[in-house]
Amino acid sequence: MNITKFEHPYIPNAGSDAKEELMMSIGKRNEREIFDMIPDHLLYQKFNLPEPILDEYTLKRHANAILSKNANLNTHLYFLGAGCAPHFIPAVVDEVLGRGEFYTSYSSIMGDQGRGQLQFEYQSMMAELLDMDVIAFPQYDGGSSVGHSFRIACRLTKRKKILIPKSMSNQNYQIAYNYINQIDGKYCELITVDYDKNTGLLDLNDLKSELSEEIAAVFIENPTFSGIVELQAEEIGKMAKAVGAEFIVYADPISLGVIEAPGNYGATIACGDLHSLGIHMLAGAGVGGFVMVKDNSKYAYQLKDMMYAASPTNVEGEIAFSYEAAFDRTSYEIREKSAEYTGTSSGLWTALAGVYLAVMGPKGMSEVGTIIMQNSQYAAKRISEIPNVEIKFGGTFFKEFVVDFTKTGKTVSEINKSLLKKNIIGGYELSKADIELKDCMLVCVTEIHTKADIDKFVNAVKAVVQTGGK
């Protein structure tokens, strides 16, 4: 036999005598015979691929050179948020992230009891954080958690209209909008409710005029995409319930050490993105969605994803875990008969969010919420002192706030370009968000910023807006 050998650390049988041994044992004389099942005309041989970099050291040099082109937290000062933000991540979280036994695991129930416990602990601490009771596996991101929540609300109420704030994150809106669109029409209709242009809060009069017994749910973000804390949340929830609608709250979990838990002001469905709970930005890969409901079977069985549950064993005091709880809901078992599909999503991030919450503890969560509020208010105050620069919306905000540059005659894009020259990544350009805010920047300030960082940013902004016109 003429066997080509290919020595590579990831394909042991390709380089050793085993290849020939295996082929002889199953009676294959050449590699073509291994693929006997594929007819000639379906085979392909003319691949045009780049030359490989076979050794690990050169590969590392190659990748380092590419990745080093990217501005990052080590090279630049960031004030950019809009759904992803720089936060402090305790080293213990990264230690668990690096545990190979864990991150290479997948679907073993009895072999991965440690993973089961990690996920159960995450679920348990999320219940405390949000004051909700039942949670399933995560969704892909905050946007898909919104879409899932919308569908749950429609099934629960058998109604087809959902009220959403006009100020909603455009990205999440687009993802959810896509998710409720079906070939035979929409799963439900999304109706926007205006927001107060002075405060950024939901316009309760407009809400009232839209509310009726046709409404499946009222959805709010708290804080809103623009950072505004929706102080009327409890009232909004009451208004929703008065017409028999669900009250869906999209929360930023890192705010919940200082802001009231959605479950404690009337949310019947809570959802959001895990990103702020100890997940690196990873150019957008550090996201994962959650949906939680109260301890009520009608709600719980609407969750589409697998669920890790805890159970006693036959050994006194022992607790074990399985993700097959109420498995007959899922599309793994009932295929197209399930209300929505499920599949692999963001399990690594949920476990790490759990680690983050345990490391932070109640005091850490309260303190991180506090410093974010203090730092962001300080930054807003300093920025508002720049002539012609205004803080939009007078309300209370968390982590992010809107800066209006209209009177400076400068566009956000121009300002950000100038900031970049000083190695500062400025805030999000709100004209992209489709929420009627032109020449406005969404500035994000977190616990990672020092007073010196903020002052540097404010001075840089000041310098830009005070030089020249458009």
Binding site: F6, H8, Y10, N13, A18, L22, F35, M37, F47, L49, L59, K60, N64, K69, N70, A71, L73, L80, C84, G98, F102, T104, S108, G111, Q113, G114, F120, E121, S124, M125, L129, D133, V134, S144, Q171, Y177, N178, N181, Q182, I183, G185, L231, I259, A261, A283, G284, A285, Y301, S311, P312, A320, A326, F327, S331, R335, S338, S366, T370, Q374, K451
Partner: protein, 520 residues
């Protein structure tokens, strides 16, 4: 052949309390920065303006010192069976291959880890370059014309493909097309994600002899109403459909699209392509075939490929190159819109790039070749050496691809013990449970191992010997098997509710607060 010696194994068993039980008030896991004194003086506590929405009660999170937490987590991770510490052969269809350490090292480069997805394209040319170059490689490997790396895993890629089918058929004014055809041995999510988009699903049942859909039934299922076919090949059974190009052509002939679920493409990379088989849309799971770890259930990436004709429908944004600069293109008139936040799973794309660059054409072809060779060898070894096993769909039984649907039917007939019992016992040998089959089962007592290219002959022989030993135990010492696992971290949970009933809800505890309520 050398006799295989089975190791004496016991998994770590720490009996760690639930982390909430470690609570000791006054202990801290970490200290975090406090606002600068001057900021505090100027702003105050910063939270009084939350008014009635200020959190009133203290969070029910545990207070635990850092060393204790680290012990807790290291112990829990020791109670896992990943492909790093055990043989990942059990989890067929999932491709638990080796996840290279250099990839994990590079994913933590600050030029990826600490990059914000919305920063200006000019400041993340490296990320976009990786996307663009990986796309060129994927196009070549799939025979497709354009790729999107936005879908967060295989399910979302299939969902996105169903949305593209919808958009395409609307574009063609074929609004009467409201059916999608799939096969029972394709992944259930092909049916479920398509039905989430509103399609009526027609499922082709496998032929008893071949395991493949019956051509005549397929012909009969195709109609004016067919919007697309969603099909896996090889299917979950490891059986390759040789007539696949006839299937795709028949779909095209009636104006339907052909969509390929290539979540697991491990047998075909560098061998055969979706393009030659006539597919319009497909996806690769980067967390299977292209070496990203499964991460204990994601995040993954469903790399979505399509033909030129469908490129305009891809989700936003796409990554483009104008000859000197990479950029994100949001301005796409016919796009299906947004399906995932930001850029998708950048880490999985980087790993896929590194995997392909490190192996090259010959290496990729060898990975596929060895994954099939390993499986054909292992299938024969199991059928020869493990008592009570059989293979259904006997036509060309020796021609399975990267995985094989096998059966412990005879073992069950002889001993009353089947795959569930074998699975519990496997843990005692340091091996995770065998993947059985997607639902509904078409083979009794099914199991589906996948000995991909990462495993050498010794690993496979070891695995087969463990199966042989357990099958013998089922005959000779059934009680040991029935009460397994004995050497796992935990004993089996006894009150996990399997059904969505009111009665079962009384013991559904997905959180500690519910557990206390239900069981304490």
């Amino acid at each position: 052949m050398q006799k295989v010696k089975i190791r004496d194994f016991h998994q770590a068993r720490w009996n760690e309390p639930i982390v909430m039980e470690l609570n000791i008030p006054g202990e801290r896991g970490v200290l975090i920065p406090k606002a600068d004194k001057e900021i505090k003086n100027e702003i105050g506590d910063g939270v009084s303006n939350l008014k009635s929405l200020k959190r009133k009660s203290e969070l029910g999170l545990p207070e635990v010192n850092q060393a204790r937490l680290v012990r807790h987590y290291i112990r829990l991770t020791q109670e896992c069976m990943g492909s790093d510490n055990t043989l990942g052969i059990s989890q067929g269809t999932c491709t638990l291959k080796y996840n290279p350490k250099i990839n994990e090292f590079l994913v933590k480069h600050p030029g990826l880890l600490d990059v914000h997805p919305l920063q200006d394209d000019d400041t993340m040319q490296g990320v976009l370059e990786i996307y663009y170059k990986t796309e060129q490689i994927m196009k070549e490997l799939a025979g497709m014309d354009k790729f999107s790396f936005l879908p967060g895993a295989g399910g979302q890629a299939i969902y996105s493909n169903a949305v593209i089918v919808k958009k395409y058929q609307e574009y063609k004014k074929n609004t009467h097309k409201n059916e999608i055809i799939t096969t029972l041995h394709s992944h259930p999510v092909d049916a479920a994600a398509s039905s989430t988009v509103g399609y009526k699903i027609i499922t082709l049942m496998p032929n008893d002899e071949t395991g493949l859909p019956d051509w005549n039934e397929y012909q009969a299922a195709l109609s004016e109403k067919t919007a697309a076919i969603f099909i896996t090949n090889p299917e979950d059974t490891g059986i390759f459909n040789k007539r696949i190009d006839e299937y795709t052509k028949a779909a095209h002939d009636i104006g339907a699209l052909s969509v390929y679920d290539q979540a697991n493409a491990n047998a075909l990379i560098g061998i055969a392509r979706a393009g030659e088989a006539g597919f319009d849309l497909m996806h690769f799971n980067l967390h299977k075939t292209f070496s990203s770890p499964h991460g204990a259930d994601g995040p993954g990436c469903g790399a979505l490929g399509c033909s030129d004709e469908l490129a305009k429908f891809l989700p936003k944004p796409t990554v483009e190159f104008n000859g000197s600069k990479y950029y994100l293109d949001y301005d796409r008139e016919h796009s299906i819109g947004y399906i995932k936040q930001f850029l998708g799973n950048t880490a999985a794309v980087l790993r896929a790039y590194l995997w392909c660059m490190n192996l090259g054409e010959e290496g990729l072809r060898q990975a596929a070749t060895i994954s099939v060779l390993n499986n054909q060898y292992m299938t024969k070894e199991i059928l020869d050496k493990v008592p009570g096993t059989s293979i259904h769909y006997n036509v060309d039984a020796e021609q399975r691809m990267e995985q094989t649907r096998l059966s412990f039917d005879k073992l069950f007939e002889q001993t009353g013990l089947g795959i569930m019992d074998v699975n519990n016992r496997l843990i005692d040998y340091g091996i995770s449970e065998l993947w059985m089959s997607h639902h509904p089962f078409t083979v009794p007592e099914p199991f589906t191992p996948e000995p991909c290219e990462s495993y050498n002959k010794e690993d496979i022989d070891y695995y087969v010997e463990v199966l042989r030993k357990i099958a013998n135990e089922c005959k000779n010492t059934p009680d040991i098997v029935k009460n397994a696992p004995h050497k796992a971290s935990k004993h089996s949970p006894v009150r996990i509710p399997l059904h969505s009933t009111e009665e079962d809800f009384k013991h559904l505890a997905t959180t500690w607060r519910a557990y206390i309520k239900r069981f304490k």
